[in-house]
Symmetry: C2
Amino acid sequence: EDWRSRRTVQIFQYILLKWAFALIIGLSTGLVGIFNNIAVENIAGFKLLLTTELMLKHKYYKAFAAYAGCNLGLATSAAALCAFIAPAAAGSGIPEVKAYLNGVDAYSILAPSTLFVKVNVIGIIFGSIFGVAAGFVVGKEGPMVHTGSCIASLIGQGGSRKYHLTWRWLRYFKNDRDRRDLITCGAAAGVAAAFRAPVGGVLFALEEAASWWRSALLWRTFFTTAVVAIVLRGFIQLCSTGTCGLFGQGGLIMYDISAAKVVYSTPDILAVILLGVIGGILGSLYNYLVDKVLRTYSIINERGAAVKILLVIMISLLTSICSYGLPWLATCIPCPADASTSCPNTDVSGNYKSFQCPPGHYNDLASLFLNTNDDAIRNLLSTNTVKEFHISSLLIFFVAVYCLGIITYGIAIPSGLFIPVILAGSCYGRLVGRLFEPISKLDVGLFSLLGAASFLGGTMRMTVSLCVILLELTNDLLMLPLVMLVLLISKTMGDMFNKGVYDQIVKLKGLPYMEAHPDPYMKHLIARDVVTGPLITFSGVEKVGNILLALKNTGHNGFPVIDEPPFSDAPELCGLVLRSQLLVLLKGKAFSKDRVLAGNKVLRKISELDFAKAGSGKGLKLEDLDIQEEEWDMYVDLHPIANTSPYTVVETMSLAKAAVLFRELGLRHMCVVPKSQGRPPIVGILTRHDFQPEHILGLYPHVRFQQ
Amino acid sequence: EDWRSRRTVQIFQYILLKWAFALIIGLSTGLVGIFNNIAVENIAGFKLLLTTELMLKHKYYKAFAAYAGCNLGLATSAAALCAFIAPAAAGSGIPEVKAYLNGVDAYSILAPSTLFVKVNVIGIIFGSIFGVAAGFVVGKEGPMVHTGSCIASLIGQGGSRKYHLTWRWLRYFKNDRDRRDLITCGAAAGVAAAFRAPVGGVLFALEEAASWWRSALLWRTFFTTAVVAIVLRGFIQLCSTGTCGLFGQGGLIMYDISAAKVVYSTPDILAVILLGVIGGILGSLYNYLVDKVLRTYSIINERGAAVKILLVIMISLLTSICSYGLPWLATCIPCPADASTSCPNTDVSGNYKSFQCPPGHYNDLASLFLNTNDDAIRNLLSTNTVKEFHISSLLIFFVAVYCLGIITYGIAIPSGLFIPVILAGSCYGRLVGRLFEPISKLDVGLFSLLGAASFLGGTMRMTVSLCVILLELTNDLLMLPLVMLVLLISKTMGDMFNKGVYDQIVKLKGLPYMEAHPDPYMKHLIARDVVTGPLITFSGVEKVGNILLALKNTGHNGFPVIDEPPFSDAPELCGLVLRSQLLVLLKGKAFSKDRVLAGNKVLRKISELDFAKAGSGKGLKLEDLDIQEEEWDMYVDLHPIANTSPYTVVETMSLAKAAVLFRELGLRHMCVVPKSQGRPPIVGILTRHDFQPEHILGLYPHVRFQQ
């Protein structure tokens, strides 16, 4: 149904609701972002304060016990949430959102039921807070995207069925497209809230999340992220008065590097190119290792909730040992005379951590390890502090973070991938900057930013959105050409070895994702080749019993309807009916004794609204029907509900072209019709699964190598 | 042909060439941008210097004569270029690029012939230089986009046919998709070069220019604009040593407003909302008036080159009179004590122009009028100079620029729309800022930026790309939330009244643009309804004479091929052949005396390369064929060249759905097949024109009002 053909009042309702939803999504995601930040900063701040105080009293073992204990407690809570209450909250969530926006409905965590999604949101929010506060090398941006999408999904499904008015208005959103639009807005809002990067959020949704894109959506997504930005701004103003507890400037990451002068010449550019090449390789190695670790973990995690939690506890202990133990390897460094902040620092966050050092000295490794991830990144990006970190310290931190990041993703906590990658990348960049110090004039803080860019490019494989996110994070447009250069190089390097990390995870989860381009071997096949399984068709006026049997015995969601004599001269394809529509029709019991056309009186009996796509888990089920024995032999007219203009392809159509049609138009069922006359009017139905490489290559193993 | 099924060396050639082309487009567009800027700054600088010197000697009439004379000379040169040599260079160029990227091939100025495009590029470059230097209220960014696209088009067509090697490699680009990709890169490079806004350029190409978008393209466009940014940066460094003549900082617009502190509270936001609302209305009024003026001008311009030039001369005189005459209305203002630049200023560019004022005083209107457009915008955006411009002066300048902008677009010079709109908008914004001074703490320079945003939103109706362009121009990310807010409001206001200015111009030019969404009335029609005209089909093995006749007597570009007995049991649709392919086949003369299948030996005779889509104007014509009388009765086998998998729709398919299929897949021909059996296997062919509202509503005038 095209909304422009509706009545004026309906159009008004629809548009009003559309923008109201965008507003609500922006507001809620912004508020969740704020809550998340305040909670993390306060919990982690308390933990670090406790540890630092004990260390100042030289009670080093007690301090470790306190630190590791806090971490362990938080980690166990997060794991318990994920293991028992909301299993779908684990992981990044971005791959699931991506798959949903590609049209993968059934498996997606956004679909099952409203309750499920609600629990999930709680699980993600608290899981993420505990996980990040527990000192894991994980970020909050993946879970934020997930949260934003879940909120959008909840809103679209109409969480408020009680209020009849609201629910009636919501009927406009009971279709795939409007729901997908909402979830795209949610994903954009998530990135905007996590990084305070509204334009970056829009571009992320465009470049990574969405599979189809319309100009109108750009416009609405933009509004949503603008709302998020305004909410965050208001909150930061509020918190600057000191009302948010331990919430410091670390809360909402924003690394201001504008203090450094951006001047570069040829040797700098050569250094930057080298940095990009190696960063790209390390990034794709990261993807490779994450994939391997995930495969191992998925086997371990299958053994039950207890094993899941045990794994989390082990990783948490390992992280605590690294964070507390490794700084002991560093030697104390005298405080610089011109330090802009207090040195040594015994505060919650900040640079120049005292650790075990005597007064007037600081421990550079502790400044990185014994901090929240956000603060560690801020320290790495700090400009005009060339000598602050020893090369050896940077090397130790880099190796530790790189490895911890890889083994942490996949355990049963909500875990974003951006922050670990930025952390490892900026450390790598600073290391390169230190090594190139003799020949390069670029500040090591800027090198650090470029290192983060190279790692992000090497793992995520986005370009424009990452570039804009990094610029919004660092508030320095003058770095633009260098950031662009590094992203281009590292993405190119990464693409030589493997796919982007989110694509890998989508594949690993076995989601039937439709790629934008058909694989080359599909050119050697025709549409008929991949049609499998028995085709079940209905007659235009079909026996109730036949329909019930078909619904019971198959899992098909779409059935072709064929007009046969006496309703037409020869058998011809009348249209396509969906399982959900059949269930509504049967529930309405518009049956007749004889095989006659019922006309529009069926629709008068059943409101058109009932045919709208139901919210998650709210649809009718076969068990809900109450068909009497004697009704089995009655007839029901399928014409009123059949989609009479299904997209069709001729059986000899190249499979590649059929795949393009299927993907571009976002279809769920495609009818294959015979080429020659005098045969049954339909050859089969193609669905998303029929285009999956596994299915095609299973049928024709050798087609891959055919030239 | 899918490139992934090619041999490795071919894939390598293709990828190498693709990126090399992106590099060349970036380099050339960057260099053109530099040349353009240096030329404009030097010519306009010379003109202004001359005028100022004469005024310092109190020779006011001589000064006017010199000023108006220079303007007139430059304007006449620009007009002569456009009227006699490159007629297609006039106007903005963005609508044409937009239409080309939508698939409008035939009418586009990018298509006709290589020579035509080459002349056009010269015409645009010099016409734009002369036009901007002549003091017209026009910008250079539309022409830059046009130039970028023309360069891309030239490169893709292979301007270097002489070198056999290069030409062979170019065969991969002889198709619609790769050419469109190149032109998208060119358009992005144009914006990047005009505004020094690489990310903005990419987003402009995405949001406004392109009709189809692929992730891979984002990535290549990004590379192109990065190259442009690096070229521009190198050049600015070079020019900062003073080697570029009168080229000052005004050359490449970049308005640094970061000096102002961005602090705002509720009253500011209310003021900004009001500014957005009125700005949106004024912007859509601008569109309305531009449309009216364009319609008038197009009638005037039809009368010949002399009339065109006369119109340009009149507008030039009017502009000169306004620029030189109106500043006399302003009273002299004493120089502020804390002026950051010299005051009064007798230099080429800059603030605080002396004009007729005694020493120690300046004329505020002259600072706006007697300057290049770039410098006037810079003055309007200058921060911490609240009282610099009188409210009355701002009002006079606003009215003058608003009206001049409207009547200037459409005359025979290359004219961008961004700069006039930014100029009027920033003046409007500063005016609003002055009026709200008592209650608002926001700097008037920031108000000025928001005013420019509101006008841009109200006319262009882009969101994200404008936002990013403005941020890249002003280098101040802290303004982001406010700029977003203003853009959203003004676009919403504008959309209530009319379409965006580029859409209006596309429509005015009568280009058959395919909208992203089918119009609502299309739902009440089926595909068969709009099939018109006699259908010409060929048999699988057809007589040469029939083909020649069909090609001669019709303008069709696609013909269905139907297999008939004895080649099949019943008539069935074999495929679709294109006019260009038929011409190549006939040229190859693979004829046979009898009606038999020729098999693949045809393709052995004619290289596959010859069938690739020819460059502009390079294709075979009917007159090039040399078919003897006796060959007319011979047969030719069409099977080898027919596209055997054309996209088809059943005749009863809803026209709206058919339109979606046509638009989303970027088709040029769509076959309509019958629903019932026993009829000829094809009902007709739909092309772009059959989906145009004019065509449909011409056939069914009442369908528009049908509910």
